[in-house]
Structure formats: C-alpha cells, structure tokens
C-alpha cells in the first residue's frame, strides 16, 4: 500500500501523469473511487479486498479525459486496476477508446474481493467473479503491488446458478427473466458503471425514432435489458459491476455471461484477452460458425 502511494506520488511529482484514479478507504469495510491530482493526496490511496469498483469506467469520462489534455497535448492518466479490470482496458484499447501509451496501469497481485461492502473477506463472501478466476496478475500492468496470496476457496452459495437456468424450458426461462426485468426502474446505473457503455448517446436515449420504450414498463424493460446484453456480447469482460450497481438486485450478468460463453464456444473469443486480437464483432473468418443465424 505504501509502495503504491509512494509510486503514485512520484508519478504526479514528476508530472508523468496528469492524475491518478484510485481507491480510498471510507469506513472499515468500504472504499470509494478517488481522482488525485495533488501529489500529497496520494496518501489516501488504498489497495485491499474492498476495492470493488472497476475504475476503468472513469477513463472514458469526458471530465477525466479533459484532465489529461493541455495546450501541450495529451498527458498520461494513471489508473489503479485489478487484473480483471485490466481486461476492460484491453477491450477499450481494441475499440479505439484509449491508447495504451496514454495510460499508466497500476495493478495489484489480486487474491479476490468481497461480494459487497460491509462484509468480512472470507470464503463465504467471495465475489462471484473471483470464484473461478485464474488471473491474479496481468501482463498489461505497468507495475503490480502487494504480495501474491491465494484466493480463498468459495464456501458460500450463489443466488442464481446460470447452468440451472439454462436447463429450464424456454417458457420457464422467459418467466424468470420477465420477473427479473419487471423489477427494473430504468435508472441506468448498470449503464453508468459499465466501462464498455461509452456511447456518447445511448440508443435508449434516442427519440427520433424511439428504439426503446423509456418508461419502466415491462415491454421497454425487456427491450432495454436485451439490448444491453446484445450490445455487450463479445465485448463484456465480466467485471460484474452492472449487477453490483443495480439497486433492484436484478442478476444482470447472467445474460452477459451466457453471451460470453457463446462467444468462446462458437468463435473461441474471449473479450479483453489481448489487444492484438481483432474484435469479435467486425472480424470475419470463413470458418466462423453460423449457428447464431436464425
């Protein structure tokens, strides 16, 4: 932790970066994002099992991008990112949203995070995405902090099991998702936290023509959630922030995970794996499966 603070401070002092995006502690079992431009403020930075947010989402915010821009040109931004968050960076680089050379990636040797703020870090409370995680560090990091420790074995119980839902007959599955999506209040928190939802104007906000019913009516809710899943297929890196942000506790990542599984199964593609890969959408191979055509 001290090492990170020292390192970040140096970066700011030497003006190597315009800002550091990181986590600060608020209370015992909770952190929040912080954007630091003053070197002395770097003492606020922390790295622990409560660093839940995917800070990559901030890299594409106009206000933060503006920090990096000056008369002289573009300066770097430093971001604290867990190895899984770095996958979002990779995806954003593939989609021309950020440039690797404008970025300083400060990562950690990760041993998992809690499923939610406030709970104790142990096998029972391990975040779902950490259960079968095998990337405890990332080759894309400029520097990784913290010691290497094992991820605790998951001993809790998942609320929704994707494989169980897959087994349901179509009508039951429909019923399940209708019930879930009916809860949606169209607050778009899922969209706001998603690092890959960077459109300047989301399709749901378009009115001429109106693609998606905007009141939180069941029909529009369904449309929104399906559009979200489809627009993220082959792109979602599985950070799970949408689900964590949803105030109505809709298991949003189920569809995303299903689409990711399909991408891998049909095209051998995993989003956020390598900046050298052509993106799944937009690349074509004669051997591509056509199973998705209806």
């Amino acid at each position: 932790m001290d090492e990170l603070r020292r390192f970040a401070r140096e970066l700011l002092l030497k003006k190597e970066v315009a800002a550091v995006i990181g986590y600060e502690q608020v209370g015992e079992a909770r952190t929040r994002p912080v954007v630091i431009t003053d070197p002395d403020e770097c003492r606020r930075l922390v790295l622990n099992e409560y660093c839940l947010n995917n800070l990559v989402v901030y890299l594409n915010r106009a206000r933060i991008k503006a920090l990096a821009r000056s008369k002289e040109g573009i300066r770097k931004l430093a971001v604290v990112a867990k190895p899984c968050d770095i996958r979002s960076i990779v995806a954003l680089i593939q989609e021309n949203q950020i440039r690797r050379e404008n970025l300083m990636i400060l990562s950690m040797n990760c041993h998992g995070v809690v499923r939610d703020f406030g709970c104790e870090f142990n096998g029972d409370n391990l975040a779902a995405k950490c259960i079968s995680c095998n990337t405890q560090s990332s080759t894309y990091a400029d520097k990784s902090f913290g010691e290497v420790r094992e991820i605790p074995k998951f001993t809790g119980k998942l609320e929704y099991d994707l494989s169980e839902i897959e087994q349901l007959p179509p009508s039951k599955r429909m019923e399940f998702f209708r019930e879930q999506f009916d809860k949606c209040i169209k607050c778009y928190a899922c969209r706001a936290v998603c690092p890959l939802c960077y459109c300047q104007r989301c399709i749901t906000d378009k009115t001429i023509p109106r693609w998606i019913e905007s009141s939180s009516h069941s029909r529009g809710n369904f449309a929104w959630n399906i559009v979200r899943a489809l627009h993220l297929s082959g792109r979602c890196t599985g950070c799970g922030e949408c689900e964590r942000a949803c105030p109505m506790d809709i298991p949003l990542s189920l569809l995303n995970r299903k689409m990711a599984m399909k991408s891998k199964e049909l095209f051998g593609y995993e989003s956020g794996k390598s900046t050298d890969n052509p993106t799944l959408v937009g690349s074509y191979d004669q051997k591509d499966s056509d199973e998705l055509f209806m």
């Binding site: 503006a66 000056s70 459109c199 300047q200 104007r201 001429i208 959408v281």
Partner: protein
C-alpha cells in the same frame, strides 16, 4: 405534403391476384394521400404521362408507385417524377409483383397485403428527404489482367483511344496460349506471325505500362476509382539494363533440370531462361528453384556471361499501386490435365487413356508445339518417346468435356475445330500418314468453320469415327485404341503410333482467388460470370470490371478478340465524361454522437470509413470519429446496422423512415 399513389396492374401480372382498383381506392383514404389511381401499365408512356399530369393537377409533392420490383422500374418512375418537377428520391416503390401477386394465390389476402405494402411506402415517403446525385471523379486508366490475345487486344484498343493502360501478366512474357499455337483455324495462318506484331506494339506503346512476371495482390475502391496493388515478382535480372542478348541463357550450366512450360514439358530449359524467342519483353528470368546459386551460393556463370552486370541475385519482389478507373480481366484458361489430376481435384481424369504413362499419348497443346515451326521438333511431326515420325495418329475429342461423370458437363467449343486443324496439319506434313478422329458430334458453328472440317474430311482424308474410346494400351510398340463406331455399330481397334487428346478448357486453378481479390463472381467451374448472358456479355456484375476471352467461358481467338474490343469500348465509354454520377444513397456519421469505436470501419466491405480528428480549441485532438467517404460508400448499410449508438444514417433509408414503415404495418 400531398402524396399520389399509382397502382399498376402490370398487364395481368399483378391484377390477377391483387384487386388493383380496390387497392387504389383504399389507399386514397390514407392520411396524406391526395390522389390515387390504378392503371394497366404504369411504366408505359401513357402511364408515365398519367403520373406527370396527376402531379400537376393535384400539386403532388411525392409519389408512391405500387408496381414490380424497384430493380425493374424504379429508374423509370424516378425519371417521370423529375420530369414532373419532383425530386427523384421522393418516389417510393411498393413491390406488388415479386413481393405480393407472384407469391400469393388468394386474391383477398393478396389485396390486403398490397394495401399494407402501399401504406408502408406512404409512411416512408412522408419522411423521405430530397437528395441530389453525387459526382465522383473518374481515373481514366485501365488495368488489364492477363496478357493473352484478349488482354493484348483490350490494352491496345484502350491505349489507341488515348487512355493509359497498365497490363499485368503473371508469366515472364505476354502472348498467352496463342503464342504456343502452330497454325490457326479456320485459315491456317501461323499463330506467331499474326500475334507477335501485336505483342511488340504493346511493348512499344507509349500509353501501355507493361508489367510482366507480376500479379495483382488486391483491388480496392469502386468504378472510376479503383486502387490496385501489384506484386512485381523478382526476375533476378535488372530489366533496365538487360539488353536481351541471351548470353546468360546459353552459359547457364543447368540444362536438364526444368521442363519448359512454354513447350508443354516437351523440352528442357535452363535455370535462367526466356520462355520463347519472340517473348515480350525479351528479358530472361532466373528460376530460383533450380538455379545452383540459390542452392549453394556458387556458380554465377550468368554473372560472368553478362557484360552489362544485369544479373541481380538479391532482387526482391516489389509492390506498386496503380490508380485505375476500370479493370478488364483477361486471364484465359488452362487445359484439363488428363490422367494426372491432383489429389482433391473435383475432376476425375482419364487414367484409361494412359496420359502421363505413355509418352506418345499427348494433349492438344503438346501437339501444337510439335507442329509448330518454333517448337522442339522444328515443326516436324515426331513422337516424344523416340523421335520417330508417327504414321498413324488417333485424335480423341471431348476428353473431359461433355462428360459429367468426369466433372465437366459443358462443351469446350474449340476442340472440334483444333482437332480438325491438327489432323489436317499432320496430313500436310506426313503425306503417307493416317489420321483418325473419334468424336461425339462435330460442333463447327462459326464462319467458315463447317467448311474447314469438311476440308479435313474430304480433301485431307481424315477418318472421322463417331464414337467414344474406352481404353488405350501399349502392345508391340503400338498404342491400341479400343473404341466404338456408333454409326456402323461395330467396335474398332486402331494400332496408333501416337494419340492426341483434345482435353477440356478449364479456368486456371487460381481463378477463384483472383475473383475474390477483384470482387467478381464465378461459376462452379471457376469461369467468371458475365452480368447478363445476352445483353451484358462482357460486363461482370461489379460495375467497372469487364471480362474478355477464355476466362469467361471456352472461347476461340476471334471470339476472345471481339470480347476484348467490346470490353475496351465499355471502358472507353466510361471515360467519356470526367465524372460519374452516383446515387446519393450513402451513409453519414453524426460526428457529435460518434464515440469512435470504429466497428463501422471494420465491417465496411468497401473501405469507405476514414478516421477524422476532432480537436479542441488548442488544436489538441480529443476525439476521433468515423467519417464516410461519399465517393467510396456503396450504400450497403452494413455500418448503419453495426453502429451500437445508431450514429450513422443511410440517406434514403434512415432509421426514422424505416421505423415509420414498420410502424405502419
């Protein structure tokens, strides 16, 4: 907005299943429709006049025509609209024929559907915006691919009309198959004698840039504005200083390692070679695969022989780019290789005829070389096996052709003629020789062609036997040809000294590969498709790409030349104005909304999407957005569908218009 609806009966094509008067009546009640009428032939002159008059009388702003496919008559009705003073893009066609009357039987439901189709078109036309045509410049230069007689003719015609030509030939010399032929039917004039003056003319023409030993790597762009990338393969000879003296060729110690493909494998050639004496350009090529220098770095006899230091072992392939406005593809054919089909070939081969096994069973091109004054036997008819003069030759027609069981169902069209020619040549050269021809039918349609075959039979006493050959085998130094005379109904056995197989003309192995680079379709054999079999025989379906010669189908020389001149004139017509008018149906990016993910750029099949920098007031780029080159965009709409934030609109088919159509259903 006042809309006019015009419902066409298309004779009975539509009115048979659609109650046209009822459609017209019902549609008059759609809000916005001022006038509605049905008529027997809307595309006819009176029909168009009806539209024009209605526009004037009812002060219409837009029109909907319920008729055949827009593919047929959209242009007609748009012109009628223009004549009446309406923007052509305020015309919508509801396809009541292909989409309705032709595919339904029940009058009631077809009529209902027709009404719905018109209603959709009305809702769309309400939102249509007037558009004006886009002008794109034309590069007045032609790329000709293939330097056989077809490519040569096309290049000369275009160049003589005053336009630049880039002629790309993959072999070291131009000339194609015609340069290998002995004499040509139906006049028996010497092939080389009529061809070489044209080859020389190509080489000397100030408007023709000749690139031999070169291949097209890719072609981008569109009619009037293609960009071709060409690979110039390393000859290992500096073309600028080589004088073509041939010293290197005669000094090369590799004499018997490589067969000459020009001589169809009947002779050897050195590692450094000029394919044939009249080659254009007269510059050798070093074949790396057999040259000793490339094997062990030694030898270099040619370097010593060359007093101009033109040998360049280190020469590498070079790439060049040519901007052209039109492309003429003239890549010709090859012969079906009888008996020795490569593994995985879709053709079966003729193992039973012993080609490849018996040295004196040869194909038509090999016979051309043997009969050719410049060939390996200096024009004397000698068998490849022992150099003896054959006294009895059997010619077999339709080898490969017209034989679906062996993979080809078409007639190669030229073999009847060249077989007659070859049998005749043999009889002229070997007076006591006997020639036999096995044929299925004789196809000699063409000016002086039938007469030519009759001459072979009647004057030169060539024996024509109608029937197929089942097998050829060797016995006591003779080739026993076992066949059947189907007219007499008896089996025939001929003990021949030599057998010539008239094998089928097929496309080059790489024909589909080139088609994909150029972007033109081909048939199941690999022949390039013409746009219309009757009315557009030299146009490919890709605008600005034309076809000439045997790459399109089996063709003889006169046909190849005629096609070449036709293709050349098509290109010249294209160049007759300085710019082309293009439909304004192109995509446009909303730069404010574009997030710059460039998925559109990845999916655009025409490479129309460019990157545009958006700068802040200090001139620092803060955003990159997509920009669509209006000249390159073909309006396919792929980008529009891909854009996640729907920041691209296709003019004439924008989201609002399409939504309105769907909502009207």
């Amino acid at each position: 907005m006042k809309i006019g609806v015009f419902i066409c009966h298309c004779g009975e094509n539509i009115s048979r299943t659609v109650d046209c008067p009822r459609v017209a009546e019902t549609c008059e009640k759609i809000p916005g429709v001022e006038f509605s009428i049905d008529y027997k032939y809307m595309c006819s002159d009176p029909g168009q006049k009806l539209i024009k008059d209605a526009v004037e009388i009812h002060k219409l702003d837009a029109i909907v025509v319920g008729s055949c496919s827009p593919n047929m008559h959209e242009r007609t009705f748009r012109s009628a609209a223009v004549a009446a003073g309406i923007n052509p893009f305020l015309v919508e066609i509801a396809n009541l024929r292909e989409h309705c009357s032709w595919v339904h039987e029940d009058v009631e439901s077809a009529t209902q559907k027709a009404i719905e189709l018109v209603r959709m078109a009305v809702e769309k036309v309400k939102r249509d915006k007037p558009l004006s045509k886009i002008k794109v410049p034309v590069t007045k230069r032609v790329l000709v691919i293939g330097g056989g007689i077809a490519g040569i003719q096309a290049a000369l015609d275009v160049a003589n009309a005053g336009y630049d030509v880039v002629l790309v030939e993959k072999e070291p010399s131009i000339g194609g198959h015609m340069s290998q032929l002995s004499e040509t039917f139906p006049t028996l004039d010497c092939s080389q004698c009529i061809l070489t003056p044209r080859m020389v003319e190509v080489n000397q023409h100030p408007r023709i840039k000749l690139l031999t030993y070169s291949e097209v790597e890719k072609i981008e762009g569109f009619i009037g504005n293609f960009k071709a990338t060409i690979r110039k393969k390393a000859r290992h000879i500096n073309e600028d200083i080589c004088s073509g003296c041939g010293q290197c060729v005669s000094k090369c110690p590799i004499k018997k390692k490589a067969f000459s493909s020009f001589e169809e494998g009947l002779a050897y050639r050195p590692a450094v070679y000029i394919p044939f004496p009249q080659a254009v350009p007269n510059i050798p090529v070093i074949d790396e695969s057999v040259c000793t220098y490339y094997r062990n770095g030694k030898c270099g006899m040619c370097v010593k022989a060359c007093d101009r230091q033109a040998i360049d072992f280190d020469q590498k392939d070079t790439m060049m780019v040519a901007d052209v406005g039109a492309v003429i593809v003239a890549t010709g054919y090859k012969l079906y290789s009888i008996g020795k089909q490569p593994l995985g070939s879709k053709y079966k081969g003729y193992g039973e005829y012993g080609y490849g096994k018996y040295k004196d069973v040869i194909d038509g091109l090999q016979f051309e070389r043997i009969a050719s004054a410049s060939g390996p036997t200096s024009g004397e008819i000698k068998r490849p096996s022992d150099g003896k003069e054959p006294k009895k030759i059997v010619f077999i027609q339709c080898v490969g052709s017209r034989d679906p069981a062996k993979g080809i169902s078409y007639c190669s069209k030229i073999c009847c003629m060249y077989t007659a020619k070859q049998a005749m040549l043999f009889r002229h050269k070997v007076h006591d020789g006997e020639a036999y021809v096995f044929y299925m039918d004789i196809r000699a349609g063409g000016k002086m062609y039938e007469e030519f075959v009759r001459r072979a039979i009647e004057e030169d006493h060539v024996n024509y036997i109608r029937g197929r050959v089942s097998r050829i085998y060797e016995e006591n130094g003779k080739y026993i040809v076992k066949g059947e005379d189907t007219i007499a109904g008896v089996p025939v056995n001929i003990d021949a000294d030599m057998v010539v197989l008239a094998s089928a003309m097929i496309p080059h192995d790489n024909a589909p590969g080139l088609a994909q680079k150029v972007g033109i379709p081909y048939d199941k054999y690999g022949f390039y498709n013409e746009s219309h079999p009757k009315l557009k025989p030299v146009e490919s379906t890709t605008a600005g790409v034309f076809l000439a010669g045997a790459c399109n189908a089996p063709r003889d020389i006169p046909e190849s030349v005629a096609m070449a001149s036709a293709a050349a004139s098509k290109a010249i017509i294209l160049f007759s104005s300085d710019s082309l008018e293009r439909e304004p149906v192109v995509a446009r990016v909303n730069e404010d909304l574009c997030a710059g993910c460039f998925y559109c750029r990845k999916v655009c099949p025409f490479g129309a999407v460019e990157v545009r920098d958006i700068k802040d007031m200090n001139g620092v780029v803060y955003k990159e957005v997509a920009y669509i080159n209006q000249g390159v965009c073909q309006g396919c709409g792929t980008c529009t569908a891909t854009c996640l934030s729907k920041s691209i609109e296709l003019a004439g088919f924008n989201n609002e218009e399409i939504f309105a159509e769907i909502a009207a259903l």
